[in-house]
Symmetry: C2
Subunit: 316 residues, 2 copies
């Protein structure tokens, strides 16, 4: 059960931390990212990285895909770079990509047709947990492939849900989580902006709601970004226009109505259309504020800048 | 700071438990409910109750209103029964009613104009916490009235948020909580029904989501009703057609858009329109299932009825 070469394709927010923890656990990882600065940073810190996914995957007995979507996944594996064909004949391919389960099944079938193994293993937990080697994996795929992946999963995850032998099930669980997460972010932003419109003290609203039945994981996690007026992207609006877009496609394909997810998607799209696609997803609150002409934050005087105690005081 | 007579108007799910805990703490409570069986049960268990709110309130130095909405509140206080006029001249009136803050302010002003004191104190926690004397109160009103209410609050609540001197603020906090709670119930039902459509094991979905970023207090609390196929009303659909209706009225009055709350309201209305208004609010999942022709639960054979182990096994 040892690996000679593990390629991690995609050194973004999740991929970088994931690859770093493989290296820290002594596994023979090679990182690949088309962005030269990500590859260079990984090479500096952990030894091996390249701008070419083919070079990283060449002869690898495991490849972990941490790219943005199904299209990138397909283009990396089956496109001109010929990444899949360059791996070992019995390589294990693990997708950590959030995508439509139908796409996952299609990609998995094409991989397995070459004699290689495939696991559908989207992540939960975000960049912070990836950096700690403490991701949650929503994994499905054949039992022998799961068994082979254990040393990799041990290095990158604190919790692995084994969701059965069928590829696509991991992706489906991830999409159900994203449906809820997206609706809850939009609802948190709607509620906070409405509370401001009603003249309520937002710090007290946070205190009361997080102790009440209206709480959600996302309310608790994202509202502090609004209170701190900090929209540096911990997770960007564009992630949810993508993920709720996938939910919308899946639901339409299945003839299944998802009015809550559809409303949330529209709010993320309006926020993106307002120029905030790359900013933190709590920016949906700024969109409501912009529409309604609200100031979510007291304007800072020059003396306040960098003085969060003063600012926090003013919010109470 | 002692009371000679405390009237509790409304012995429903919250009012009964609240009144019971006043009695248990030795406070001189008289319960009132137009439903003779609720009044009779309270009289049996705790000594004093009547079908007439005027009789309960006559000469009382405190009145606690636990009726369904603003209209009932107004009709009790200012209607033909003349309840307010029958109380002590310096009586303290406490509203635990969930209503539009504008209505609360109007009712409060009319009460205070008679020289009596008023507190706006909606509850959170539901019937179970009311029965334990462990409600959360979202209270606002003048400081001297808050001080007077302390022996009452001590008997019925484990947590009292003092939200300032302005009547209506407690109601506004409650409505923000209800906005979120209603959206989260509808989202939980949408996600669970969609998961069923995707063929996922709903018990695993519950396990994974409650440990993930898609979790909410309502998802965690309500989805077990769906898994257990138990729609006996712990909290009815009609509560949320009412409360999201108030949110909708408030938002329209303030020219503020609430698309998430509006979508959730429509789902509760469809569920009520389907004949489930008086059933548990998790019935929204049954509405999605009905629309999409899904079986959320394996049909029970006669042998299964009352055998929850078998039923649970079948869900896994």
């Amino acid at each position: 059960m040892t690996f000679n070469k593990i390629a991690v394709i995609g050194l973004g927010a999740i991929g970088y931390g994931l690859a770093a923890n493989l290296a820290r656990n002594g596994l023979p990882v090679v990182g690949a990212d088309a962005n030269p600065s990500a590859a260079a940073r990984f090479a500096d810190e952990f030894g091996k990285a390249t701008g070419s996914s083919r070079e990283a995957a060449s002869g690898a007995d495991a490849v972990i895909l941490v790219v943005v979507n199904a299209a990138q996944c397909e283009s990396v594996l089956f496109g001109d770079a010929g990444v899949l064909a360059s791996t070992a004949a019995d390589a294990l391919i693990i997708s950590c990509v959030t995508m439509d389960p139908a796409e996952t099944r299609s990609i998995g079938a094409r991989i397995e047709a070459t004699g290689r193994a495939f696991l559908d293993a989207p992540t939960s937990g975000g960049p912070a947990r990836a950096a700690e080697g403490a991701l949650t994996l929503l994994a499905s795929g054949r039992e022998d492939a799961m068994k082979r992946a254990e040393p990799i999963f041990d290095a990158i995850a604190s919790k692995v849900y084994g969701l059965g032998a069928e590829v696509g099930v991991g992706s489906a669980f991830k999409m159900i989580n994203q449906l809820l997460a997206g609706v809850h972010i939009a609802a948190a932003c709607e509620a906070i902006a409405f509370a401001k419109k009603l003249g309520l003290d937002l710090s007290r609203v946070y205190e009361v709601i997080t102790a009440s039945a209206g709480n959600s994981w996302m309310f608790e996690n994202r509202v502090p970004h609004i209170l701190d007026n900090d929209y540096a992207p911990k997770s960007a609006v564009a992630i949810f226009t993508k993920d709720l877009g996938i939910v919308s496609d899946m639901a339409r394909a299945a003839s299944f109505p998802t009015p809550l997810a559809a409303s949330a998607l529209q709010m993320f799209l309006m926020t993106a259309a307002s120029g905030m696609a790359r900013e933190d997803d709590a920016s949906v609150a700024r969109l409501y504020a912009k529409i309604a002409g609200l100031e979510l934050h007291p304007r800072e005087t020059e003396a306040d800048v960098g003085n969060s105690a003063t600012r926090e005081g003013a919010l109470r």
